[in-house]
Amino acid sequence: MKTKLITPMALIGMFFFTLLFGTVLPTNADADSHRDFKVAVQKLPAVLEPMRVNSNVHMRILFNVGESLLKIDYKNGFKIIPSLARSWKRLDDRTIEFKLRKGVKFHNGEEMTAEDVAFSFGEERFFHKKRGWILAQMYLGHLNKPEVINRYTVRISAKRTDFLLEKRMASYMSEIISKKAFLAAKDWETWSRNIVCTGPYKLVEIKTGDYIKLEAFTGYWGKRAPVDSILFKSIPEVAARIAGLKTGEYHIATDIPPDQLKNIDSYRGTSTVGGPIPNIRAVQIDTTNKVLGNKEIRQALAMAVDRQLIVDSLYYGRATVPNGFQVKMSGNMWIEDFKGLSYNPKKAKALIRKAGYKGELIHYRVQPNYYTLEVATAEILVEMWKAVGLNVKMEIVDNWSQVLKNDESRHLVNMSHTAFYMDPEGLLWRRMGPKSPFRFPNIYGGKEPFCYVPAAFDEWGQQMLTTTSKQKRRQAVREMLKIVDSEAFQISLHTMPIFYGIRDEVNWTPYPSEFMDLMAGNLSFK
């Protein structure tokens, strides 16, 4: 029995196919025009107001739109250089007077003045308890309200000695916004999605979870942006990001896992760039239980880790082994001769024997690749610990609540620590000092904090915060690093790298930072 019933169906199918796909192809031709720059990212922020978010995916985009009074010269030893302020002067150990650049325009065409600076750090934004204060307090919580001296002069002061005030005014959350545009916005949330700043690119549109579009700002005070527009497109799947890079749909693809570097480098027309940022991958130890309450066991855990092997085998040598909990970008606060707890399996075994360890189970909570290669790294660590006689069991959990949940099986968890301001204060003090979440009882359930830190650590920390002497500050940092190693409540693993896939026709240099500088001087085309 035969029929030709299929024929009309096929015709209908062809009709719909033609109707739907008969349009002019292909869309990847956009990449031929460098004027519209496209970046494939793993994730996008939902808003751009810096005091409404606190994430690396946000930092990546923000600095192209918003500028601070000062800026960090990433290409010249991380020096602090003028930005919206043309000059600045330290009045005392806690106050700086800034002379503003004249003729700087916001994206709405208004001129930036000292009023806008004061407003950016004022009652309605930063000090508002339901707005900027929630997240920005940990960066700028010790600041006073700015003092406007005249239209182009403003003073910013801290409640205590602040060695880092210049760096703070050059970093995340110190972007200057337009007072007029802020007040014209319907509410905080609407403003957060429509910020008006002074950068070389202005925000055009945020399509949550899909894309963020920026456009070159023609009224920019500095060198004009090298491209007309930038599209940050969210492509969560790494295979699709790499495919888009190879086909030329995107000029840059971010968050490339190390195992894909060779794949991109060997493809004609693409290569990879990137390396460590000021962030250290670590294992956090809960010291409140019986086994890990013994610091010899904790030291043994730290000494059993062959960090160089992890860096070489998983990161192909493109990450680095840190000298304890410090980053090289700290400049004069980098204690070069402090090496940290290094790989020493013999000593680890001796410590285990001395501690009288009898093979008690140590739980190690791991998320499925929240951090780059988290599971692979954990598997290697478990084997390294096993090799010295420690019985560590890896447990995969789903999210941070489950990782940090304070119960009898919280022993080891993965963590990473960013050195804000590329300074020990932004890492050692922020992540291990008295205001660190790991030292707060209750916040993850239970009654005890993650770890108890000796009082000496906080005392040296106070010296680091309050001194203006570089030598005294270095001494404090050294002592704090020693305490972290001796107490071993954290194990440093390696610096965290960020890798990008890039088209060969693009000249772009990534900084040791989450920030992607797509401005004049750092982005051009061959």
């Binding site: 029995m1 029929t3 030709k4 019933l5 299929i6 169906m9 096929a10 209908i12 199918g13 719909f16 739907l20 796909f21 008969g22 349009t23 192809l25 292909p26 869309t27 990847n28 494939a40 808003v47 606190n54 994430s55 308890k129 929630i134 997240l135 307090q137 940990m138 509410d187 905080w188 949330e189 609407t190 957060s192 999605r193 945020i206 399509k207 949550t208 979870g209 899909d210 497109k233 969210s234 492509i235 969560p236 799947e237 295979a239 699709a240 990001r241 790499i242 495919a243 888009g244 086909t247 749909e249 789903d398 999210n399 941070w400 609540s401 489950q402 940090l404 205001k435 979440p437 916040i443």
Partner: protein
């Protein structure tokens, strides 16, 4: 179709949606802290406390639930923690993209699956039949994420014919639609084939042929309409299956629809958005099954009579 039958069905539909939404409400809150999920462990403890209070997460779950239900009756479905917009707006903004993908997938599913099933049935036990069914089983067996990545590798990376991800042009539809329609069309092909084979063996088909009705007319006017009844039944499941397939496919191809939104909202515990998206998905699936229920009675007089009998209104 009696009034009682309709009310009964509507009541069950509402109950189903309520159970789903309540279940998701409880599970989402018990399985993770939104503040930690959104900001990670790098956030200041004071900020954590403030945000928990701000978002009402410091209250017991039952109290949060009562607020949620109370707010629904006032037309407030909550706000996204991530961008502060109404959850309703956040989800609705994504809906057109999902509907367009589902719509095109549905068209191709029907255009390929049903004719393939009929074709196979009409060539029962031939090589063509076996080849068609082998393809259908293969289509059904390949996971969406695998097929999606395979298509990207072939059509984007190797041959550079199609864009790898996104939704900007008609070309962007091709790979996601193939990914989703392959499995769906396979299901329809198998169901249609079985239904056609059953109908083709019925006495009334033999009678029609014996009366001299041309074969094409028998297939078109006697066999296919009767075979369509079980096929309509699976259309209800089809909506659910499209939604599930859409979640995976939208993520592979960065398609900015509700499925992708749901994945990121669950990962971030953006609770109001999850609730809204789940409500929408539950509503669409329940509504599709409701339509199938009603259509079934209309298509098949036997079912209609049976329902009338059960409700005491039949003869």
């Amino acid at each position: 179709m009696t009034g009682r039958f309709v009310i009964q069905k509507l009541f069950r539909a509402l109950l189903t949606i309520w159970i789903i939404v309540t279940f998701v409400f409880i599970v989402m809150r018990m399985s993770g802290d939104s503040v930690l999920m959104i900001f990670g462990p790098d956030v200041d403890p004071n900020a954590m406390e403030t945000l928990r209070k701000e978002w009402g997460l410091d209250k017991p779950i039952w109290q949060q639930y009562l607020y949620y239900i109370g707010n629904i009756f006032q037309g407030d479905l909550g706000k996204s923690y991530l961008d502060g917009r109404a959850a309703f707006d956040v989800v609705m903004e994504r809906l057109p993209k999902t509907l367009s993908l589902m719509g095109v997938t549905a068209i191709f599913t029907f255009l390929i699956g049903i004719p393939a099933g009929i074709f196979s049935a009409l060539h029962h036990n031939t090589r063509t039949d076996r080849a068609t069914m082998t393809l259908a089983v293969m289509g059904l067996s390949i996971p969406n994420f695998f097929l999606g990545v395979l298509l990207i590798l072939l059509f984007s990376v190797t041959w550079q014919l199609l864009p790898s991800a996104g939704s900007e042009s008609a070309l962007h539809f091709i790979m996601p639609v193939i990914t989703m329609a392959t499995a769906e069309a396979s299901v329809f092909a198998r169901f249609t084939r079985s239904a056609m084979l059953e109908v083709l063996n019925q006495p009334y088909i033999r009678t029609a042929l014996a009366k001299g009705v041309p074969w094409k007319t028998v297939v078109r006017e006697h066999a296919f309409p009767n075979a369509a009844i079980p096929t309509v039944t699976i259309a209800g499941f089809f909506v659910g299956s499209l939604v599930v397939g859409g979640v995976v496919t939208e993520n592979v191809f960065a398609w900015p629809g509700v499925g992708r939104l749901l994945v990121s909202a669950v990962a971030n515990r953006d609770l109001a958005v999850v609730q809204m998206a789940v409500f929408l998905i539950a509503f669409s699936m329940v509504a599709a099954n409701l339509v199938v229920d009603f259509t079934y009675g209309w298509l098949d007089p036997r079912v209609r009579d049976l329902r009338a009998e059960n409700s005491g209104e039949g003869t």
